[in-house]
């Protein structure tokens, strides 16, 4: 399912941003802190209504869809990680089924199947009966991703999904996301992970588009120096061949 942002403006943050994620594509948003990545995603997952411009989800204007209908099409992982009350992992994942349920109806077998499968996908079945509050940062992130997957979305929007994760879990989480086979729009700080996992990248600067294209097209040392103010040397990954960056500060290396 396609996700399109067309000239989206949020006063003082985004200035007419246009981007597009096609069916099954993994699209990364990169850019310095405060460049508008999270705000862009918030417009996409409907936590923020753009002042002007439109968000199209599967060809329909997001605002015209019932909140439950858009939640059946699109799931998101936000930056919020605090959960009040002692929910168990199973209960958290089951919340992913809310958009599919009527208020009166009980959980169906189908709901339970999707939840179990989502937990399996993130390799967290063994956590099912644990309290969410007792989990480590990495376990929490995987459970929250399972919750998003249990929603059975056609589009996934992820805001810094690798935050607080160790190297192995960063790779595992992004492998899981890629294996889900849905359209993905995600914000990433790590340009090398972005280069490895994304089909296309959008580079944001001060709420506007600075560059876009495949990782090889976008991650050029001149652009990195201009956007991030660091010197970057480009090397090819010896195993995968994807472009990878080695950083040094501009001052140290005149």
């Amino acid at each position: 399912m396609h996700l399109e942002l067309d000239s989206v403006t949020v006063p003082a943050i985004l200035h007419g941003l246009t981007l597009h994620a096609g069916e099954g594509e993994i699209v990364g948003l990169v850019g310095p802190n405060g460049s508008g990545k999270s705000t862009t995603l918030r417009c996409a997952y409907r936590a923020l209504r753009p002042a002007t411009g439109t968000v199209l989800l599967g060809g329909d204007e997001l605002e015209s869809l019932h909140p439950k209908e858009s939640a059946r099409r699109l799931a998101a992982l936000t930056q919020e990680s605090s959960v009040t009350h002692d929910f168990t992992v199973t209960e958290i994942v089951a919340m992913g089924r809310i958009p599919h349920q009527k208020p009166f109806a009980r959980e169906t077998g189908e709901d339970e199947r999707h939840c179990a499968e989502a937990l399996r996908t993130v390799r967290a079945e063994h956590l099912a009966t644990r309290g969410f509050q007792t989990l480590s940062g990495g376990e929490r992130q995987r459970v929250l991703i399972a919750r998003a997957l249990a929603q059975r979305p056609r589009v996934l929007v992820l805001d810094e999904p690798t935050n607080h994760l160790d190297v192995r879990h960063q790779l595992e989480v992004l492998d899981t996301v890629r294996a889900a086979g849905v359209t993905v729009l995600l914000a990433l700080h790590d340009l090398n992970l972005a280069a490895h996992y994304c089909d296309r990248l959008y580079v944001l600067r001060s709420g506007a588009l600075a560059a876009s294209g495949t990782p090889a097209e976008v991650l050029r040392p001149e652009l990195i120096a201009e956007i991030f103010g660091v010197r970057a040397d480009l090397v090819d990954h010896p195993r995968t061949g994807t472009p990878q960056l080695l950083y040094s500060t501009i001052e140290e290396n005149p």
Partner: protein, 344 residues
């Protein structure tokens, strides 16, 4: 887990019936279980009662039964509102009175008791004034706390708390200006909560309010779960947090207003019962909201029994007893269970 919730409910329903019978039996004038059952059966099924039971019949039907039933209704209502409010403001320390509603009601009640406002309404003057005070307070909290995106937890708590201080100051001023010490004592008693005003007139209103309110909140159970994840995540689950919070606020404010009008500000039930229930059922609001009203009803019936019997013929304020009974059991459970109160 679903079966466990059913099992708890199946235990609590008979416990509630037994509690009602006990609550009707125990009191300043001693009655026997047999007599009470006889009277209840007679009144329910229309049988005739022997003359020897006429006095007891009067006590049961005019005083004890409405009072015990009101205790059940108020206990159920406070527990349910407590559960909902804790989710609405995302704060485990919240209770039905955190929104300043009871303080507003207190101003109304104090004004009636001491200045004799609304005297034309007779018996209902106090309740009406308390309810109007509660509505006024909630309206102010709502108007101040709302933003373009609906109500946010922190603004609600801050507005409610600030307003509570303001209203308490007004209540204190009114009590301070009371013409007699008796009037001041009456107000104080009402502020600590009392079911002494129970009658068949106000009982159905309170019962219907609690029934409708609990039902509505139960239907919002999944939405309440989503609110616990944070407003943005709730939005991604198709639950618009701001708008849901407004609806929940209105229901909680009305329900609290009714409860405070019939029973004063009975503290601690709405704070503690939700946690006690969650320790047993887990955090899922559909389970908590199924069990909380039953548990709250049983709890307040027994608190009321204690308030009538411990210092008979004097009556102890309910707020004192909810604390005396509640705090130790709460601390005990705290020690025993790995319950986290929604924190780390």
């Amino acid at each position: 887990m679903r079966y466990r919730t059913c099992a708890i409910a199946l235990f609590l329903i008979p416990a509630l019936v037994i509690s009602v019978v006990c609550g009707t039996t125990f009191g300043a004038a001693s009655l026997s279980f047999g007599d009470v059952l006889h009277i209840l059966a007679g009144e329910t099924f229309g049988g005739s009662l022997p003359n020897s039971l006429a006095g007891a019949d009067n006590i049961v039907m005019q005083t004890r039964l409405p009072r015990t039933l009101l205790a059940a209704v108020v206990g159920a209502g406070l527990s349910v509102v407590g559960v909902a409010i804790q989710a609405v403001v995302r704060n485990p320390l919240a209770d039905p009175f955190v929104l300043g509603i009871s303080s507003g009601a207190s101003v109304g009640a104090a004004a009636v008791s001491i200045f004799g406002l609304l005297a034309g309404l007779g018996l209902y003057a106090l309740s009406t004034a308390a309810f109007l005070g509660a509505l006024l307070a909630s309206a102010i909290v709502y108007l101040v706390a709302r933003t373009r995106h609906g109500l946010t937890p922190l603004r609600l708590v801050l507005c409610g708390t600030a307003l509570a201080y303001g209203f308490s100051a007004i209540t204190t001023l009114i009590v301070f200006r009371a013409p007699s010490a008796d009037a001041a004592r009456d107000v104080l008693f009402w502020l600590m909560g009392s079911l002494a005003g129970a009658n068949w007139g106000s009982l159905p209103i309170a019962a219907i309010a609690v029934l409708l309110g609990s039902g509505y909140l139960w239907l919002c159970g999944r939405g309440l779960n989503a609110l616990a994840m944070g407003d943005e995540t709730a939005a991604t689950l198709g639950v618009p947090a701001g708008r849901l919070r407004v609806r929940l606020f209105v229901v909680c404010a009305l329900l609290t207003g009714v409860l405070v009008a019939v029973s004063g500000a009975i503290g601690f039930v709405g704070l503690m019962l939700p946690h006690l229930v969650r320790m047993v059922t887990g955090a899922d609001h559909r389970k908590v909201l199924a069990i909380a009203p039953l548990a709250g009803a049983c709890f307040l019936i027994w608190v009321d029994v204690a308030s009538r019997t411990l210092a008979a013929p004097e009556e102890l304020p309910l707020g004192v007893l909810t604390a005396v009974l509640g705090v130790p059991s709460f601390l005990l459970l705290l020690r025993r269970r790995s319950y986290q109160f929604g924190g780390q």
